[in-house]
Symmetry: C2
Subunit: 335 residues, 2 copies
């Protein structure tokens, strides 16, 4: 295992300490276990709070999006493991400014169970909550059972839309509706070239041959839909786009935002070459591409590979995406 870390069992705590040492003017640690990240300024009175949570190992997801215009709090689990319901409850409580709290998180068994329990605990204390689960990965379940899909990089669009809606003063129902609307128009699919190593395990969680690529692999190494001989960038882009468009058709004149997300070890140059291929194909279909997102938004530590997310835009979603935001790893400014 070649990682620049200290003791594997301290990986998450030291990462969190690093975050707070770097961004202590904007973020703070809280919670009995020190596993809650909050905006340093605390909840905004009368504004809906937006929280998320999940396992570590996916930075900037999840906690890198806590900040102005996006999330108010994040519950942090061990690598690839759900945070506890107690941690989530402490976070929900800390993020309530009196208008209720939206829990917006990836659709994984442990997170679902623990967030449901945390919301029940919050309701006991008269904190209103709403839940929106991100399930954007088209490779993880067919369309007829789309509610079983995993949540991956598309969640960043939902964080942004919900954050902007809350900043506009919408109520809990309205903020949840903005997140649901963004997600209804969001589809993602990824490919992986190499595995990653969970620090406390110390060896790769799976293997991919040197001349193969796994299509549709999940961000925790969940099996994809097939393993193929290595493909070039244009072929990867075409395959992903065909799967996404089969699920969410686009028409001439439609406008989309495209996110090409690196899983960890894939260079920005390669992400841009894939963005080019996606853009060319959409252009040929008469689909207009706006608001590019090219970089690392949701990773699996040192995994090589990428995902493509398509968000179909309308005037409302464009306006929500364009609203200013400033977090340690997502800044959107019209200057």
């Amino acid at each position: 295992m070649k990682k620049i870390i200290n003791k594997p069992e301290n990986f998450v705590e030291e990462m969190l300490d690093g975050i707070v040492r770097a961004y202590g003017d904007r973020l703070k640690l809280a919670g009995e276990q020190g596993r809650v990240i909050l905006r340093a300024q605390g909840p905004k009175k009368g504004r809906v709070g937006i929280v998320t949570g999940g396992g570590s190992g996916h930075l900037p997801v999840f906690l890198g999006y806590v900040g102005e215009g996006m999330l108010d709090g994040c519950a942090v689990g061990n690598v690839f493991a759900s945070p506890s319901s107690q941690t989530m409850f402490e976070m929900i409580k800390a993020c309530d400014g009196g208008a209720g709290v939206l829990c917006l998180y990836g659709n994984y068994g442990g997170d679902n169970l623990n967030f449901d329990m945390a919301c029940e605990m919050a309701e006991f204390e008269d904190i209103k909550t709403a839940t929106v689960r991100v399930a954007d990965d088209v490779a993880s379940s067919p369309k007829v059972t789309a509610e079983k899909r995993r949540g991956v990089a598309g969640m960043v669009y939902a964080f942004k839309a919900a954050g902007a809606a809350a900043d506009l003063g919408r109520d809990l129902k309205g903020v949840a509706a903005a997140a649901r609307k963004a997600l209804a128009s969001t589809r993602t699919m990824g490919v992986a070239l190499s595995p990653c190593i969970v620090p406390q395990v110390g060896k790769p969680t799976f293997s991919i041959k040197d001349d193969e690529i796994e299509i549709g692999m999940g961000i925790h190494g969940e099996p994809g839909i097939e393993v193929r001989p290595m493909m070039n960038a244009d072929e990867v882009a075409s395959l992903i786009l065909s799967k996404i468009l089969a699920d969410m058709p686009l028409e001439r004149g439609d406008e989309v935002s495209v996110m090409v997300n690196g899983l960890g070890a894939t260079p920005l140059e390669e992400l841009l070459i894939v963005f080019r291929a996606i853009h060319k194909e959409l252009e040929a279909k008469g689909v207009f591409v706006a608001m590019p997102h090219v970089g690392e938004f949701a990773t699996s530590m040192e995994m090589a590979g990428l995902s493509v997310t398509i968000l179909k835009l309308d005037a409302e979603l464009k306006s929500l995406l364009r609203a200013p935001a400033s977090t340690p790893f997502y800044t959107n400014a019209n200057i």
Copy 2:
């Protein structure tokens, strides 16, 4: 070679096409060979132009910093190879708004030679130029021959300082002075864990054993100062900091900006763990850390490893760093 690319010989052109497809509202391609990146809006009349250039394979360096508040143009070479003097000349000409052009680039033989020729060509056409070479890598030459050092991630601070000085309306001499001042207070050192692959070569440029780490390696795989058995994050941070502080001592009460830069494949979690260690050591010395930069700023494609840059701040440098900037891969906003 496991890369998501098309034909290796098209790597740079397709990457550039991807950049312009993504950010065409802000950037444009120019030059006879299509190897000049410019701000889409063209030069600002009366403002000093700031340009850079160098080989490809280091994104976001160099062209990712072309935009508001930083660079006006970038000349783009093949992977790890200098752009031609002709390309540089076309760029300088395109970036002159009448107040002259600062050439601000990394100290490498080919780039030095070609930029010198390009500046001569520009002077023939009555375009004033000034040159500042970035030489921040303390591992690449001893202090007595500091002018031989290579330019690495610290150049981002110089781009930012010069861009802000130009935005303040300073003249060519003043903008060059701002860049020189930032660089006089900037030191960088890196470590590498794995090699990278130049697409047209198709195999790693060097090798590092599975249980070893190379100290002071350059971003093109230039040999470092020593190879050691694998170290943990705290040891890496201590070693780098000791080399930097031997070169640029810091005193109790000093204030610095710290950049922990991933070389390509190293996860953000690990960068934060190293940031933590650097921050702890500086804190113990009574040095205050502001303006964190944690992420990928200057890479070597899929190389694993990281560099640490320390910029010693004063009131002027803080103000220049804090000024707004908006480029595809560097956004600095006070919102």
